[in-house]
């Protein structure tokens, strides 16, 4: 009945789990989700226990986020904090338990997405990093780097209508959605570039062919895999 029985929060870089955590980052249209999907198939085929974790996926927070986006209730600070809430739920539910069990966790977008977006929206760099201090440091963080015009072309062809927050329209940089989107993505890309050395991200040139990128990715991931990871977890069918 005292505080020592309650587990203390563990800070970034200090978690020690038998599993592996691989995350992909990059601007919209960089092709990171495609690459992570291919990696997933490969790991599964190789017989590893693999879990998938996506950005914005907490069932506890989903309704609040959806409503806030629809009704445009967010400020940069609440946008940041609600996404951190979502991420915390993901961490407590879908990331730490499988890592403890020795599985491989693949995350589509991670804390670096928040750092890039929130700072682009004007949040303080140090503050945002502090908010996410509880996050598990990934085994490898991949950053798929695509030049701004390439990314914008890819998105424009895939999705004709830009969403309000995605385009950074809440910042009043421009009345024109496309213009605003370009400015926002530009700022995000700057932030990513800074983070490569700050967090030791592994940059992959996203203008290469899909197969080439996947080969590079598998080669790097392969360095952290051990046969015994396969035995650690039995996945329910």
């Amino acid at each position: 009945m005292n505080r020592d029985t309650i587990p203390r929060m563990i800070s970034y870089g200090h978690h020690r789990y038998p599993g592996r955590l691989f995350v992909v980052e990059g601007t919209d249209g960089s092709g990171k989700s495609t690459q992570l999907g291919l990696l997933y198939q490969w790991l599964k085929a190789e017989g590893y226990p693999v879990f998938f974790s996506e950005w914005n996926s907490s069932p506890l927070v989903k309704d609040t986020t959806r409503r806030a986006k629809k009704r445009r209730l967010f400020t940069p600070t609440t946008f940041s904090l609600l996404h951190a809430t979502d991420f915390a739920d993901r961490t407590e539910r879908n990331i730490i338990p499988p890592l403890k069990a020795g599985a491989i966790v693949l995350a589509d977008r991670y804390i670096y997405t928040a750092f890039a977006r929130d700072v682009a929206r004007g949040c303080d760099r140090a503050w945002v990093r502090e908010v996410y201090k509880f996050a598990v440091k990934p085994t490898v963080g991949f950053f798929f780097r695509a030049p701004l015009d390439v990314a914008i072309d890819r998105i424009a062809s895939a999705r004709p209508v830009l969403k309000y927050y995605e385009a950074g329209m809440d910042m009043d940089w421009s009345d024109d959605e496309e213009e605003s989107f370009k400015m926002f993505q530009g700022k995000i890309l700057d932030e990513y570039d800074h983070m490569v050395s700050e967090f030791g991200l592994t940059a992959i040139d996203a203008t290469q062919s899909i197969r080439t990128q996947q080969r590079q990715m598998r080669e790097i991931v392969g360095r952290y895999l051990k046969e015994k990871l396969k035995e650690k977890v039995v996945l329910p069918k």
């Binding site: 009945m1 505080r3 029985t5 309650i6 587990p7 203390r8 929060m9 800070s11 907490s58 506890l60 927070v61 309704d63 609040t64 806030a68 209730l73 967010f74 400020t75 940069p76 600070t77 609440t78 904090l81 609600l82 951190a84 809430t85 915390a88 739920d89 961490t91 407590e92 539910r93 929206r121 004007g122 949040c123 303080d124 140090a126 503050w127 502090e130 908010v131 201090k133 509880f134």
Partner: protein, 271 residues
Amino acid sequence: MKEMKFYGTALPGLEIEPYSGKLIVIEGTDGVGRSTHVALLRTWLESGGHAVLDTGMTRSILAGRGIKDAREGHTLGRLTMQLYYATDFADRLENQMLPALRAGFVVLTDRYIYSAIARAVVRGADPEWVRSIYGMALVPDAVFYLRMRSTEELAGRVLGSGSGFDYWESGMDLGLGNDYYDSFIAYQKQLLREFDRMTGEYGFHVIDASRPVRRVAADLRRAVARIIEEEPANSGKESVKVESPEKIKSTAVPTLKESPRIDSQEKAKSA
């Protein structure tokens, strides 16, 4: 007018400008009578002509409902819970408290960041981490900490209120005791310890809440009157007598005649 001061980094995009309102915080553990005293103060202030906004945890438009739903399911992880509360707080700070303070309101808040910090720390969160998340908080004009002498007394109050023990207020998520009572006592003891620790750090005015409501209310009025008096010459020219419950000297309080101070301020601005 008073300069805005924040505990840490101010909110992004915020214009830091002097404000004419007052931010008054009523803090304390569960069951000490915070909401009763907020209600009493509100009536008293309004009858003295002050525009009042009252707010409290989980009352934000953005996150209030989401938190309540999550609490219902008892499925909130420890860190998730702290960040959900921080989201709720930020929404209320930006969209309710700061605008009201700029418009000259007295903002009465039932709990502020201190309860959030205490709850988080008791649940194993890094104290520095929680404090820096709440660095966005405006330093209030006053924090009144309603303190009960013992947790057993608190339990009595909670039972007396008729609603019984609540899962979260009893800290049932922490596994501190076999039943709600044991857990409540153990949990509230830890919260009290955190509050006591923060008393010096944040300069709480400690008010002994074990006394009858009337006595506590009188102390609060006296103290609040002093705070509101601090800068009397700001908008209202007239003064009224504050109904003095006990030994309060008649205090000059700026009044709002007909329309609130917002009006006179706006006029002043446009002039």
